[in-house]
């Protein structure tokens, strides 16, 4: 897999990470070396092998439909960077 600056930029955009021009090459290099390691997988024939998302082979338990959570807004918003009128504040969102 060839990683170039287009790839690095678009991945940084998706991941919402700042990418300073001077760090592009560094990113290309480290992604390339990690992908070289990762690409060793490609030598394994996995035809017909079902992907395994989870170590447990059990089924999901489900919860009863009960309201169990009290209002803890004050506690939660005491650690929030910016709130007003009980709302979390962010720079203006344009729809």
């Amino acid at each position: 897999m060839k990683v170039d600056d287009t790839v690095v930029k678009s991945i940084a955009q998706l991941a919402q990470l700042e990418l300073k021009p001077e760090s592009i090459q560094e990113n290309i290099d480290s992604m390339t070396s990690i992908l070289n390691l990762v690409d060793q997988m490609q030598s394994v024939d996995t035809t017909g092998i079902e992907p395994m998302a989870h170590p447990l082979d059990t089924m999901q338990r489900l919860r009863e439909d009960h309201v169990s959570e009290p209002d803890q807004r004050e506690l939660f918003q005491s650690i929030a960077p910016a709130t007003e009128k009980n709302l979390y504040l962010v720079p203006k969102v344009i729809e």
């Binding site: 998706l14 919402q16 998302a53 989870h54 447990l56 059990t58 089924m59 999901q60 489900l62 919860r63 009863e64 439909d65 009960h66 309201v67 169990s68 959570e69 209002d71 803890q72 807004r73 939660f76 918003q77 910016a82 007003e84 009128k85 009980n86 709302l87 979390y88 504040l89 962010v90 720079p91 203006k92 969102v93 344009i94 729809e95």
Partner: protein
């Protein structure tokens, strides 16, 4: 050029549960901002989702209601994107293994033609929060009360060819989810929202045109207008030699127009992958069978029963089954008075007319089925005439008591004693010699005049049919 319109709908239905899909926070509408956003809903570090049992029950009920295949194994996935109303930076949804696969519904259009709309799939997912754009010094406020509310996203095939069809389909889905108690279907509270995928192509063309997606339309009126605007816009673009771009549109009901959304990139890469915090959900055939056995009668089956067993017209049956509560009201009244057609008339015309006038839902009706049924019994046993019954109905509506109490208190009982009606007839004959001549000469039209006079004189308490018979006997 003749254009063919191709429409598919994605309908988000809020499931009527007490708690959220992955947390124990309340889903009640209208709470103070963020008071129903618990640790899981705001995505604190270290929190984990736990699935609400009820959402599967409701999703399966919907699937059975549209004749779909129910997936015995379904898997939750993460859909990744950044947005301030999406606290975790991903939405938990179902991509490759949705709970409901396929299905179809039949819609009826205004010209009474019918059409089948196919459903691709329906999957469970969590709702996002809400952005409030009122001015917080140029900031946006985020309320996460709605975050984590359970949704069923119902995806249709692109089977619809006009805004009317799309609206008919959406209305049907709303009716169905209300019937099945899957959702309250309250669009004003956002319990049912539509995304419309619209494209056009030259008539006869088989490949699809480029589609746009108009998001979050929350009324049927807006849905119709949004689609029609989008159709016109696309025709305008194509006919002036332009190209339609695949993009997300927003319908602005104030300006009555669709415009591209600026905030979300059109080609967002959602990087779906299986949600590692949740295992696959497996249900068995017995579980599905149990829900099937407890499924309420669907509107279509009910309408068919009204037509075949109660001999109502198709139109009447459709109206009476438009919602589960109307149908249940009607059936109760019909059962009490043992006369479906009489019950049909009164529920459809008098009751629904009055409800409409006062802007009430049938559940809020001041006249309960027992009261209406009792009233209709009194029409059937000739205690009162249909006309007097309307007076009594109004009185019950005003809280005047039961039919019998009102009839008694106001002396509205029908006069059926011939000996007390005959003198009235004689007097009217005497006062109208000319008309009497005409009647005797066989002029049937005048009969109505005399009946009317008698009814007037008895203040409506006589039975018109009986009056009719008595007059005929007298002129023989």
């Amino acid at each position: 050029m003749q254009w063919e319109v191709v429409i598919g709908l994605e309908i988000h239905v809020q499931l009527s549960t007490n708690s959220k899909i992955f947390s124990g926070a309340s889903t009640a509408f209208g709470a103070s901002p963020n008071s129903q956003a618990c640790a899981i809903d705001i995505g604190l570090p270290g929190v984990l989702p736990v699935v609400n049992k009820e959402v599967f029950k409701k999703a399966v009920a919907f699937g059975l209601g549209v004749g779909a295949e129910i997936a015995l194994k379904s898997v939750f996935d993460r859909k990744n994107y950044f947005y301030p109303d999406l606290p975790k930076g991903y939405q938990i949804t179902q991509l490759d293994y949705p709970i409901v696969i396929g299905g179809e519904v039949e819609i009826t259009l205004s010209d009474a033609t019918k059409k089948t709309i196919h459903i691709t799939r329906a999957h469970l997912e969590e709702d996002a929060g809400k952005s409030l754009h009122e001015d917080f010094h140029g900031m946006t406020g985020i309320d996460l009360n709605r975050a984590g509310t359970p949704l069923l996203e119902i995806v249709s095939e692109p089977d619809m060819r006009s805004a009317e069809e799309a609206v008919a389909y959406a209305r049907y889905i709303r009716q169905l989810v209300c019937y099945l108690d899957v959702s309250d279907g309250d669009m004003s509270q956002g319990s049912l929202r539509c995304d419309a995928n619209v494209s056009i192509r030259p008539m006869g063309e088989t490949t699809m045109g480029t589609r746009t997606e108009t998001k979050n339309v929350n009324s049927f009126k807006f849905l119709e207008r949004a689609i029609n605007h989008e159709i016109e816009r696309q025709i305008g673009v194509l006919e002036s030699g332009g190209t339609v771009h695949q993009e997300t549109m927003l319908y602005d009901p104030v300006r009555d127009e669709t415009r591209p959304m600026r905030s979300k990139e059109t080609a967002t890469d959602y990087r779906y992958f299986p949600e590692p915090d949740l295992l696959p959900v497996e249900i068995d055939a017995a579980y599905v069978a149990d829900i099937r056995n407890n499924l309420p009668e669907l509107p279509k089956q009910r309408a068919l029963r009204f037509i075949t067993e109660m001999h109502l017209s198709e139109t009447d049956a459709m109206i009476l089954t438009s919602s589960r509560s109307v149908a249940e009201y009607f059936e109760r009244v019909s059962e009490i008075c043992d006369d479906p057609r009489l019950a049909n008339n009164w529920v459809r015309v008098e009751l629904m007319g009055q409800l409409n006038k006062e802007g009430l839902e049938i559940k809020q009706s001041p006249v309960v089925p027992q009261q209406l049924g009792d009233l209709l019994i009194r029409i059937k046993d000739d205690t009162i005439s249909g006309k007097i019954a309307k007076t009594v109905f109004d009185a019950i509506w005003q809280g005047g008591g039961t039919a019998d109490q009102i009839i008694e208190a106001r002396g509205l009982k029908q006069v059926t004693d011939a000996s007390s009606i005959e003198p009235v007839i004689d007097e009217i004959f005497a006062n109208n010699p000319q008309q009497l001549q005409q009647l005797k000469a066989g002029k049937e039209k005048v009969l109505g005049f005399f009946v009317g006079q008698v009814m007037k004189a008895t203040q409506g308490k006589a039975n018109p049919k009986q009056v009719n018979d008595l007059i005929r006997q007298k002129i023989k």
